[in-house]
Symmetry: C2
Subunit: 372 residues, 2 copies
């Protein structure tokens, strides 16, 4: 995925019914092109606010700013303390006020430089700043690259739950430089690959085979291997979100593993990380599919094997209260009419579609897979 | 504007390039139809949160709720202290948390019941609640009916300025019941008619003539007279925002009187109300147009006369610091490249378009009209 500027791989993501399509540019070293690409894509933006967290800013904000200034673009850097616990309305308020003080106007723009938390929070700042300014997403973690930077979801958490406040705000540009994964702690890399496994499981069996083959390169952040996986995940996700930006219908397939995943995460008081929760959630929801006769036998085993090799958990934490987790699925954002809904695989690489992309399953069946 | 349900006057507003068009239903007594219309328009919404302020809720929330319940729709009422000073991120947070506690989900909806502050704040709650739920705007003040309920602008103020945080979130339905104007204090009615005068001044000379004829009925909240004016203002505004939802280009004409109006309002520390500031702003910007030879002579005189008969001020407050007001226009949200821009009339009923819908004018000319 290293290539010359101007010849780099690109994916175009359809957004807002074709009125807000945006390119994803992916190449080793692409961070150096930020200024040039931002100027090309958004010639009307007169000042850029680079938003990052206290972990990522020292690593990459100087390069981002140098690239913007090299392209003749004014910029400032704004940071917040790293961590999901700071993805709050308070951080959003503080950053917004900093941007106003900095003199950013309607002709300003935001660069979201960092992992998933940065992308969500900075994206929400951009979505609501003077009723919306453009955001360029520059993901530096696996989960942000393969999942959150594409699709336009932005938001913050409240005391009552994750992402309860937010907007759809498609980025104007996504710039992916896989060499930035070298500075990501190995445990966090593994977390992100859970979403890549999901893309293979629901949409593309050959891609899952590639991931199975490349486990070592993925964990080692080999730029070529990681870049190829990121590129395929983005293509797959872009295909789905382009069909349906507002997450009804087809976009639901991306929730595979997430109904139980979110419930496990919440029930652990967010001790369990998102990637681990989704890893367990995928195995349990595949088992749920097998138990109700929808999912081909052997799917659970194959999923659990690759997730386990990636260092991800595949069984619920000890001492889990199955009834509480099951109850928690009834409070999911995806609930309709009070009933939780599950995306079930038909087999690896394909989602069962009978009766919609997600369906209700009896509480008994859910309790049964949770009990193991 | 009184009519039978099913035969009431409607205007369709184009939004989001035709993908989010919404009806404005206008009739005396229409508040009674809220439940029925909400159910027809949004059959998927399972629970409604009626957001209002402490002034309007006691007057109309019971009727709104009764109508929703009469249509078999679950609802709850949420209030915040009346007044622009409460159009804040804090009120937005509190209301959002109440909706979560109330169990509102993605399949919920918001009814914004009240004046402009309620519409902006409740609209922003809806825009950001779980990344967006539908909002039904039920304006009960003149300014909300003729201006803010249509167009999709939502937002809150920050310490640094008005509407610095917000979203475009077109309503799913606007329900206008002009009989609710009877409970509006007369001084506030006059404030709202300033925007109606603006619509006549920029777009429709015969409409301005109607307003001149109907001053007494407008001030007295005669339902037929007020309803006819509201209907015409909505038609005119809908025509403009439908062409261009994102406020570039044509939508700029709606800023007539607002560049100086906002500056006067801010410079007074918001002692001067919005309608009064816009009234003065229109007279001054018409004078600006006359002084640079763009606006037909006599326009100032005619505008000032009708505004004055409506009880609105037409000259800046005593002791005004013209230089500070002029400096303030440079910090306007509409500034591009540091230069404030002004919508200038060609004559009453028409905006001068040469070089765009808004243009830069020399600081000297601006200072001169401010100095009187």
């Amino acid at each position: 995925v290293t290539s010359e500027r101007g010849r780099e791989p690109r994916v175009t993501v359809r957004a807002d019914g074709g009125r807000a399509d945006y390119p994803v540019v992916l190449a080793g070293g692409a961070l150096e092109w930020l200024g040039e690409l931002a100027r090309e894509r958004l010639p009307g933006v007169r000042r850029w606010a680079v938003i990052s967290d206290t972990t990522v800013a020292p690593l990459y904000a100087p390069a981002a700013r140098a690239s913007l200034e090299g392209a003749g673009l004014a910029s400032s850097v704004h940071t917040f303390p790293a961590g999901e616990k700071n993805k709050t309305r308070k951080s959003w308020s503080i950053l917004t006020d900093e941007l106003v003080e900095q003199g950013l106007g309607r002709d300003g723009g935001v660069v979201a430089l960092g992992g998933g938390v940065v992308g969500d929070l900075a994206g929400f700042v951009a979505a609501t700043f003077m009723r919306g300014v453009p955001v360029v997403q520059v993901p530096t973690s696996v989960v942000a690259m393969v999942d959150s930077a594409v699709g336009g979801k932005t938001g913050v958490d409240t005391g009552a739950g994750k992402n309860l406040v937010g907007s759809f705000h498609p980025p104007a540009l996504v710039l992916v430089d896989p060499t930035t994964l070298r500075t990501l702690p190995p445990a966090q890399r593994a977390q992100g690959w859970a979403e890549a496994v999901k893309h293979g499981a629901i949409l593309d069996e050959p891609y899952l085979r590639d991931l199975e083959r490349d486990v070592e390169g993925l964990l080692g952040a080999d730029a070529a291997v990681a870049g190829a996986a990121v590129a395929r995940s983005i293509e797959l996700k872009a295909g789905v979100v382009g069909l349906d930006e507002r997450e009804a219908d087809v976009r639901e397939v991306l929730n595979f593993g997430h109904t139980l995943g979110h419930a496990l995460e919440a029930e652990s008081g967010y001790e369990l990380s998102h990637g681990s929760a989704v890893s367990i959630g995928m195995v349990l929801e595949a088992r749920l599919g097998e138990s109700v006769g929808v999912t081909a036998r052997g799917s659970v085993e194959r999923l659990a094997a690759v997730l386990s090799r990636l260092g991800l958990p595949t069984t619920p934490p000890d001492g889990l209260d199955a009834a509480r987790v099951e109850a928690c699925t009834h409070r999911d954002k995806k609930v309709r009419g009070g009933h939780p809904r599950f995306v079930l695989l038909e087999r690896i690489g394909s989602v069962a579609q009978e009766g919609g992309w997600a369906r209700e399953v009896s509480s008994e069946a859910v309790l049964s897979v949770l009990a193991g």
